[in-house]
């Protein structure tokens, strides 16, 4: 199991943002987490990259346990995870090449390896001609593809995409989802949070539904079945 959440609860202040969360994510899965705004989708993804630690319950991700992980181990966990956000989060003062190369630069990868991997990844995304441009010179769809390239460049085992199509028009959104599916076919586990699950064709992934911090999806139902 790549990710396991056991009876997880997390509160910001008084109200729990997430409660009684049990999720298991298998290697190679394409998991879609949907639900209305404020349901806790972003919070669930934050638990996976351990940007938050649960108040109770345990999150385990590729062998790192939320109750045991030390602060200086967090970078090691994050190198196994690629993250894509709705607002892209690119460094505006750096070129596309440098943005994509960042995860390799921060781990001290050699210059030649960086060159090779970034160029070939940009080529696959159809962006190699834009490698010396700056993020603001690119369209939203292109920026999101750069963000996805950055998330994938260090060969993560799991790709988290939080509302990756939120800022894009339908046509470009479809392309981005298609790209995520392609990445998943390459063997990388993908977890995508979206308020609109119809973006992913039925049958192409497993769907979980969050509402007011509680899961109303397959995992939760199976567990209830087992209990009864």
């Amino acid at each position: 199991m790549l990710v396991t959440m056991e009876n997880v609860r997390l509160s910001y202040g008084r109200w729990p943002a997430l409660d009684k969360i049990d999720v298991e994510i298998k290697q190679g899965e394409f998991l879609v987490i949907s639900g209305p705004s404020g349901a806790g989708k972003t919070t669930l993804l934050r638990l996976i990259w351990m940007g938050d630690i649960p108040d109770s319950g345990i999150v385990e991700v590729t062998g790192f346990r939320s109750d045991r992980i030390r602060k200086r181990e967090l970078p090691k966990l994050r190198r196994k995870i690629g993250i894509v956000f709705q607002d892209f989060r690119l460094l505006h003062s750096r070129t596309i090449f440098d943005n994509v190369a960042l995860p390799l630069q921060v781990t001290g990868t050699g210059k030649r390896v960086i060159q090779k991997r970034v160029i070939s990844l940009l080529a696959r995304m159809g962006l190699s001609h834009r490698r010396n441009a700056f993020p603001h010179e690119l369209s939203g769809g292109e920026q999101q593809r750069v963000a996805i390239a950055r998330a994938m460049v260090a060969h993560p085992v799991i790709l988290l995409a939080d509302e990756p199509t939120g800022n894009l028009d339908p046509e470009v959104s479809r392309e981005v989802v298609e790209l995520l599916l392609e990445i998943n076919r390459g063997g990388t586990t993908v977890v995508m949070a979206t308020h609109d699950p119809r973006q992913v064709p039925a049958g192409k992934g497993r769907f979980l539904f969050l509402e007011k911090g509680v899961l109303r999806g397959a995992d939760r139902w199976t567990e209830l079945d087992e209990e009864s």
């Binding site: 970078p75 460094l91 960042l102 001290g108």
Partner: protein, 286 residues
């Protein structure tokens, strides 16, 4: 190895970004330091004046007219071995006249009016150990010396002296207090200014975190930036204070502060800069 190279690259990228915002921050830090530097210059000069005043804690012993130079010196020797006496200087009648003419040129005519028979009395200038002296001790010494053969009378600042010692101590305490207040407020200004300029780049910190950069790698550009801002800001403040001091030097005679004070000022800038930068980058906990 290439990790260090890319950390150095991060440092230089960071230092080259947002020059406008950095300039404003530097200006803020420098201005804060000018206030502090001005205080330092004033208290350094006050220190000098007060040292001088304290050295002037002394007594003038006028000798009777019949006392010869040799006898005068002998009396001086006897006084110089008394407890709490730092030094004794014999001023002969002729020297007294020369001094009078030199120090009060406007009044030199007075001496001429008095005629050639008139001479100023010879005297002994006594300086006490400043730290041992108080009013009781000084009047006791005055009584002892006044009773010696050949001594006409003694003069010391009977009203002025106790006040002086008290004033000097009070001023010292006030300066120290003001200094503490200023050091803390300067530190806060630098701390918050630098922290703010780092927090403004929290997106960079965020991105570095999610791509798995180690903690030291994320922080080191900010530490360098903090040192840079603190050192340049405080040095800039010093430079500006030096210019102001130079411009004012003809109007108000004063000294600039000593070298080791300047070094401490720059160190203060560096330390508060680093602490501010670190606090800014720690804002994001995980």
């Amino acid at each position: 190895m290439s990790m260090i190279r890319s950390a150095i690259r991060e440092i230089s990228l960071n230092l080259h970004s947002k020059p406008g915002a950095r300039f404003i921050t530097l200006l803020m830090v420098a201005l804060a330091f000018i206030v502090f530097d001005t205080f330092l210059i004033i208290s350094w000069n006050l220190q000098g004046i007060m040292d001088q005043e304290e050295n002037l804690v002394g007594m003038e012993v006028f000798l009777e007219r019949h006392v010869s130079t040799a006898q005068g010196r002998l009396i001086g020797d006897n006084i110089s071995i008394m407890q709490d006496v730092k030094s004794v200087y014999f001023v002969s009648s002729q020297e007294a006249e020369a001094l009078f003419r030199a120090e009060l040129p406007g009044r030199a005519g007075l001496l001429d009016v008095m005629g050639s028979d008139f001479t100023l009395p010879a005297s002994l200038q006594i300086v006490f150990q400043a730290e041992a002296i108080n009013q009781g001790r000084i009047s006791e010494l005055s009584r002892q010396i006044g009773a010696m053969a050949g001594v006409d009378n003694t003069v010391y600042g009977e009203d002025y002296l106790p006040g002086l010692i008290k004033t000097v101590t009070t001023i010292r305490r006030l300066v120290l207090l003001l200094g503490i207040v200023l050091v803390s407020s300067i530190s806060l200004v630098v701390f918050y200014t630098v922290r703010l300029s780092v927090v403004r780049r929290s997106l960079t910190v965020d991105i570095m975190r999610i791509v798995g950069a180690p903690w030291w790698f994320i922080r080191i550009p900010f530490v360098v930036e903090g040192i840079f801002m603190g050192v340049t800001g405080s040095a800039g403040g010093l430079a500006m204070a030096a210019v102001i001091s130079k411009v004012l030097s003809s109007a108000v005679t004063h000294r600039f502060m000593p070298m080791w004070w300047m070094i401490l000022v720059i160190l203060l800038g560096a330390v508060t800069g680093v602490v501010g930068a670190l606090a800014g980058s720690y804002e994001k906990e995980r």
